[in-house]
Each structure stands twice: as structure tokens, then as C-alpha cells.
């Protein structure tokens, strides 16, 4: 029988190893799997390469993971957001590496990683510093750069609903990177607000099919990043 439920965030992230590549869902706080990230802080894996659109905010969630010196490298499109102090400080101190990727290229590289496409061409960044050192090539008279797929050892994402097969439903713009990160990681770990019976999710409306999902933890009342930041909470 297939049942991807695990007992706790701690159990779900227990085998994330030093040096692992970890995709973390979310765009800002929307979709950020904060309880899974905090479990990863408790767990302590070091020298992680983390893929997320941003670098977190305040001193909770992704920002706290970075602040806890567990991240050796960030792959992201926008590391500089309101309320994001942790990353800039470490970056200026040369204590964290940054691979800056245009947001759409980041999304497509992740999707390609999940779809078995090792590389593709895109018009994005042609003629800019972000195309430097990359192969470029003309198709039909237009110049494109070649971009490589990104894969990860783990993905941490957040959903609204999940069944035991791992079929997922997200809420509004919290969907963002989750479905494609789920595809691109060897082990995809989901924290879900509600764990529902098989058959409760209409097959026509599944947003991330269970085949991409490995572990599910129910977190009924997830914390809200912006609220924690406003309250000045620091994790741990």
C-alpha cells in the first residue's frame, strides 16, 4: 500500500545530508514550507546548496537557515527583498556563494531538471552580464543562450491538501515553484495543511501528481513568515 505520510517534520528531513542540494518552494512567504525549514535547522545539515527565488526575510524560515550557516550557496533570482538582511551580510562577508539566475530561467531550469531535458536555449539574458561565460547560439537569426537543467537531492514544499498518493492542491499564488521543484528533486517532501482521503481530490484538478512526491507531513496550522518577522521572532 502506498502511504507517503510521515510522522513529523523532523522525521521528514532526517536524511538531508551535508552538501545536499535542496530546492525550497515559495515566492517570498507564499508557499514557504517554514516548518520543514525549521526542522532542517534543528537537524543541522551543513554546506547546503539551496534553490529558492529569494533568500528569506527576518530571522525565520530560509533566512534563519542561512543565518545558521547551513547554506554554502544560494541559487536564486532576487536575494534582496524588504526585510532580507541575513543573506546580504553574509554575501558581503564572502561567507556565502550566489548564483544569480533570471526568474524565468530559474523556473525553466528546474522544470527541465524534472522533465529529463539536460539543457535548452533561451532569449533571456542575451547581451547582459548574466549571459557571460555561457554558450550562445543563433536560431533563425536570433541569439539565445544555453542553460543547463537544475536537479536537487531534496525539495521542501508546502501544500494545502495532500492525499496518501501525494496528489497536491495549492492555494492561489502559493503554488509558484512547488510543482516544478517536486519534479526536479530525488526526494520531495511536502508539508500540507490537510491530509485528505484518496478520492477527495478531483483527478481533473490535481496540481502536482503524486508520482513526484515522496513524503508528506501534516502541519495543520503553519506559521506565517510575515507575522513572525513583524513580531521579531528569531529561529531557533
Amino acid at each position: 500500500m502506498i502511504d507517503k505520510k510521515v510522522s513529523s517534520p523532523a522525521a521528514a528531513v532526517a536524511d538531508i545530508f551535508d552538501g545536499a542540494t535542496v530546492m525550497i518552494g515559495g515566492f517570498g512567504e507564499a508557499g514557504s514550507p517554514i516548518e520543514l525549514i525549521h526542522a532542517l535547522i534543528d537537524q543541522g545539515a551543513k554546506n547546503l546548496t539551496v534553490i529558492n527565488n529569494n533568500t528569506g526575510s527576518g530571522h525565520v524560515g530560509l533566512a534563519a537557515l542561512i543565518e545558521n550557516k547551513q547554506v554554502g550557496k544560494m541559487i536564486c533570482s532576487f536575494p534582496r527583498t524588504a526585510g532580507s538582511m541575513v543573506f546580504p551580510e553574509l554575501y558581503r562577508a564572502g561567507q556565502i556563494e550566489l548564483e544569480l539566475v533570471p526568474q524565468g530561467t530559474l523556473a525553466e531550469r528546474i522544470r527541465s531538471g524534472g522533465a529529463g531535458i539536460p539543457a535548452f536555449y533561451t532569449p533571456t539574458s542575451v547581451g547582459t552580464p548574466l549571459a557571460e561565460g555561457k554558450e550562445s547560439r543563433e536560431f533563425d537569426g536570433v541569439t539565445y543562450v544555453m542553460e543547463r537543467a537544475i536537479k536537487a537531492d531534496f525539495a521542501l514544499i508546502k501544500s494545502t491538501k495532500a492525499d496518501r498518493y501525494g496528489n497536491l492542491i495549492f492555494n492561489k499564488t502559493a503554488r509558484n515553484f512547488a510543482p516544478i521543484m517536486a519534479m526536479a528533486a530525488d526526494i520531495t517532501i511536502v508539508q500540507t495543511k490537510s491530509y485528505v482521503e484518496i478520492g477527495d481530490i478531483d483527478p481533473e484538478t490535481v496540481m502536482s501528481p503524486g508520482i513526484f512526491i515522496n513524503r508528506i507531513v501534516e502541519v495543520t496550522n503553519p506559521q506565517q513568515e510575515s507575522k513572525l518577522v513583524k513580531e521579531g521572532v528569531c529561529y531557533p
Binding site: 515566492f27 533570482s77 544569480l100 533570471p102 547581451g127 503554488r175
Partner: protein, 229 residues
């Protein structure tokens, strides 16, 4: 065109009323046609939405996965999972659609979005845009979706003050800041003028009330062509 005949008194600003930020947004909004799919950058571009003329139906795309973005939520409507690319709380209109990031940028890169309105640090005479980085060594580089938008959206409008706070021209012969994209800008709306990027060069088509062509030219580091007739 009389660009070479009236170069006197160009700094006389008594009768000049440069457009305010709201007026710039309002002017830009005139060019958003009915039925357009539009992506608005963070900041001044967001203002454009409130000035789209009545009777035109425009669908706003936000690259974090929503087509059919609506205005700010009431406290009752507020949902932290419903935000725009600037991470501000928004709403979704009837007829909206949510999707994931790869699908969202397929809309952008695949040339399905009609218009994108962005701010600028610099725009060159060839339509090169620099709006993501000063290139300063201690800056934290952050690009977001800007490079994807300029590479993929059919029409790129820039809305910006004509000069920097210290009076430096933002419209230049060649950008000195790192580029966001090459030859991507179609039209520039400043507090002083509306300028089209054309194959012939930068064509100034409209002036703010009382502003003269030469006054604008003096504040522009690239040759302008007077199309105001």
C-alpha cells in the same frame, strides 16, 4: 520639426509643468489598448493600472503565477498566499487563472504578454535597458523576472523620471550600468516627454506642458528627433 531653430531660453522653467508621477502613469495608461495582457513592474508602473481609460478591459499578469490580478484586498479579502511579484497582497478578478512558475514564464518568454511596463536606470538610444543593477562591487545583485520580461513581452514601455535625482540623463547613448536586455524598449514615458525608440533613433513625440524640445534634448545624452511637429 524645429529642433534646430529654437535653442534659446531652454532653461526658462517658468511656464513648464513637467508631468507628475500620476500624470506619467495616466499618459502611459492611454496606450494600453482594450483586451491587452499586461505585466506591470514594481513601483511607478503599478500606478498605471488605476488610469486605464474606462471601457477598456485589461488583464494583468503577475509572474508569480496569476493572470487576472485585481486591486489590493480589503482586510476581509486578505490572503498571504495571494500576492503579486512585488510581494504585495492583491486579489484575483473573476475569470482569473493560477498556474506555476514555469507556466507563468512560458507566457512571458513565449511572447504571449502584450505589454510590460518597467522602470529604468538607463535606456540607450538603441533601446537597451539597464534597470537591475548599478554594478557597484558591494551591491547585492538581484534580477528577478526583469530579464525574462524584456526578452519575451511584445511591447516594453519604460516609465521613469527623465533624469536621476542628481540631474544625470537616464536616456543615454550607451548604458553604463549592466544591461537587462538589448534593443528591447519601445517607448519611454518621462516627466518631460514621450519618446519612441525607432530604427531612425529616439523620436520625441510629446512634450509635457510648456516643456520645449531643446530643454529635453539638453537633459538627454543621446540625440532626439522632434516628432511633435
Amino acid at each position: 520639426m524645429n529642433s534646430n531653430t529654437s535653442n534659446a531660453d531652454t532653461s526658462n522653467s517658468e511656464t513648464m509643468t513637467p508631468w507628475s508621477r500620476d500624470q506619467m502613469a495616466q499618459r502611459c495608461a492611454q496606450d494600453i489598448t482594450d483586451g491587452s495582457y499586461v505585466n506591470l513592474g514594481i513601483g511607478m508602473p503599478e500606478k498605471v493600472a488605476q488610469y486605464v481609460p474606462k471601457g477598456r478591459e485589461v488583464i494583468y499578469h503577475t509572474e508569480n503565477g496569476l493572470l487576472g490580478m485585481g486591486p489590493e484586498p480589503t482586510p476581509e479579502e486578505y490572503d498571504p498566499d495571494l500576492i503579486n511579484a512585488g510581494k504585495k497582497a492583491v486579489t484575483a478578478v473573476a475569470g482569473a487563472a493560477f498556474f506555476h512558475h514555469a507556466d507563468s514564464f512560458s507566457m512571458i518568454r513565449g511572447k504571449h504578454i502584450d505589454v510590460c511596463i518597467l522602470g529604468a536606470m538607463q535606456v540607450s538610444k538603441d533601446g537597451d535597458l539597464a534597470n537591475w543593477s548599478t554594478g557597484a562591487p558591494d551591491a547585492i545583485p538581484a534580477v528577478g523576472g526583469a530579464m525574462d520580461l524584456v526578452a519575451g513581452v511584445k511591447i516594453i514601455y519604460i516609465i521613469t523620471q527623465h533624469t536621476t535625482k542628481t540631474g544625470e540623463p537616464k536616456i543615454v547613448d550607451k548604458c553604463t550600468y549592466p544591461l537587462t536586455g538589448q534593443a528591447v524598449v519601445n517607448r519611454i514615458y518621462t516627466d518631460l516627454a514621450v519618446i519612441d525608440v525607432t530604427n531612425e533613433g529616439l523620436a520625441l513625440t510629446e512634450l509635457a506642458p510648456g516643456v520645449t524640445f531643446d530643454y529635453v534634448q539638453e537633459r538627454t545624452a543621446a540625440p532626439l528627433i522632434d516628432y511633435t511637429k
